[in-house]
């Protein structure tokens, strides 16, 4: 049986890990390679770098971060942010990433999903989604960091993502994100019921029991968190011990 995965996510700008609750409050807080090594020690099953660099030059810096991480950390590494072409996929994978995550660009140009899956294999194509309740009993897909409603229904979008050959979906609930009130169980179940590819839960976790809840009450394959791990409120090891106590299969080494 597959282990449920715990995935710390690092936001990286110009080669530095940054953290901020809003766009004006961004602080630089460390070296991404060192953070990756630390999370690896704690037992992270996978690492995500999310590149929030705006400039083109920044991409080279990010690729160098990926390369140095791949030389020191031997678990799967996923890189997202600013990926818009097949060439970006190729460069990122060559630098040592195992998976590439796309979000807004997939909505704007869905054929990027199918092309990347065909060339590099489904296993390295992750589609990230930011979604929110639409007030009419459904969910709407947003792009550009949750700012633009594309008039796309979540149910339709996840089916298209799967049909185009993506290997995984990373579902971030805008409603839950930042609340620390728990993952969005309802939205995750809505998506897990509609696709058979793995779904990664993102957004909303604030304490240990939220991990148990999401992995017991949904079919999510993994849970992702950023600030909780970053601000050392919890370690990956503590989360896994808790899951293990509840007989949820996790990798303890």
């Amino acid at each position: 049986m597959l282990a449920k995965r715990i995935i710390p996510c690092l936001d990286v700008r110009d080669g530095k890990v940054v953290k901020g609750v809003n766009f004006t409050g961004i602080k630089e807080v460390g070296d991404p390679v060192e953070c990756a090594i630390e999370y690896n020690k704690q037992g992270a099953d996978e690492l995500v770098f999310y590149d929030i660099t705006a400039s083109h030059e920044g991409r080279g810096v990010m690729l160098d971060v990926v390369k140095r991480t791949a030389e020191n950390v031997f678990v799967p590494l996923c890189v997202g942010g600013g990926i818009s072409t097949i060439e970006d996929f190729r460069d990122t994978l060559r630098a040592g990433a195992d998976k590439v995550s796309i979000n807004s660009q997939a909505v704007k140009n869905p054929s990027l999903i199918s092309e990347a899956a065909e060339i590099f294999g489904s296993q390295c194509v992750v589609v990230g989604i930011d979604a929110k309740r639409d007030g009419k009993g459904g969910y709407a897909v947003y792009i550009n960091g949750g700012r633009i409603d594309m008039g796309l229904q979540l149910g339709d979008w996840v089916k298209e993502i799967e049909q185009r050959g993506a290997g995984e979906i990373c579902l971030n609930s805008i409603d839950a994100d930042g609340t620390k009130a728990g993952f969005d169980i309802e939205m995750l179940n809505y998506v897990c019921d509609r696709v058979s590819i793995p779904v990664i839960a993102s957004g909303g976790c604030g304490k240990l029991s939220h991990f148990t809840d999401v992995l017991q009450q949904t079919n999510s394959s993994a849970a992702l968190a950023a600030s909780l791990f970053h601000f050392k409120e919890l370690t990956v090891g503590e989360v896994k011990q808790e899951l293990n106590k509840h007989n949820i299969p996790v990798r303890m080494y």
């Binding site: 049986m1 282990a3 995965r5 031997f74 040592g96």
Partner: protein
């Protein structure tokens, strides 16, 4: 020196990164001389069976691999493990290296997603020198849609994914194959690579 055979198939740098990290000298190479000089050989690979076998045939290294695997340790990883067998059935029937009897076929599951992707637990079936020093319930990282079907004697470990999936194979001497990615399997994977590098 460990020769990592570079025949054009997939991401081979992560295997080299892992041996570099562990402090073992290794080289990415397709040179017959280097492979002869090496004291052990890795056959990596990502992609489809026929395409990779075609590249390997074109490299002219197949007779050398047959000769060398009789005299020094050899480890196939992922697709490199699948190529060890006599036949593959990805898109079309295709001859493999035939170092271990068996065939590679699509994993058929009605209610499980394919590819089999993620961390799964090794269930040890037969003693294997590459498992020395592993913790209990070792998890390793898999990404594959095809799996080897072979004699139980050759299966060092399998994993459970809606049924048995061959995870690690061996002949009775020098040939080993890992369906999973030891270079992406954390400490457990590094220990397996270390064991391989230390094999007599």
């Amino acid at each position: 020196m460990i020769a990592i055979i570079d025949y054009g198939a997939g991401n081979i740098f992560s295997v080299k990164n892992a041996f570099d990290y562990l402090g073992y000298e290794c080289k990415l190479t397709n040179s017959e001389d280097e492979i002869k000089k090496a004291d052990r050989i890795i056959l990596p690979g990502v992609g489809a069976f026929p395409a990779a076998m075609n590249m390997l045939n074109n490299s002219g290294l197949v007779p050398l691999i047959h000769e060398q695997t009789k005299i020094k340790p050899f480890l196939g990883i992922c697709l490199g493990m699948q190529l060890i067998f006599e036949k593959g059935y990805e898109f079309e029937e295709c001859d493999g290296l035939g170092l271990i009897p068996g065939a590679v076929k699509k994993i058929e599951r009605t209610d499980m997603p394919i590819p089999h992707m993620g961390w799964n637990e090794l269930k040890i079936q037969n003693e294997c020198p590459l498992f020395k020093g592993l913790p209990e319930n070792p998890y390793v990282y898999f990404v594959h849609s095809f799996a080897a079907e072979c004699n139980d004697d050759n299966v060092a470990a399998y994993c459970d994914y809606g049924g048995k999936v061959t995870a690690m194979v061996q002949d009775n001497k020098y040939v080993f194959g890992a369906q999973f990615h030891p270079e992406k399997s954390g400490e457990v994977g590094l220990q397996i690579l270390r064991n391989f590098a230390e094999l007599n």
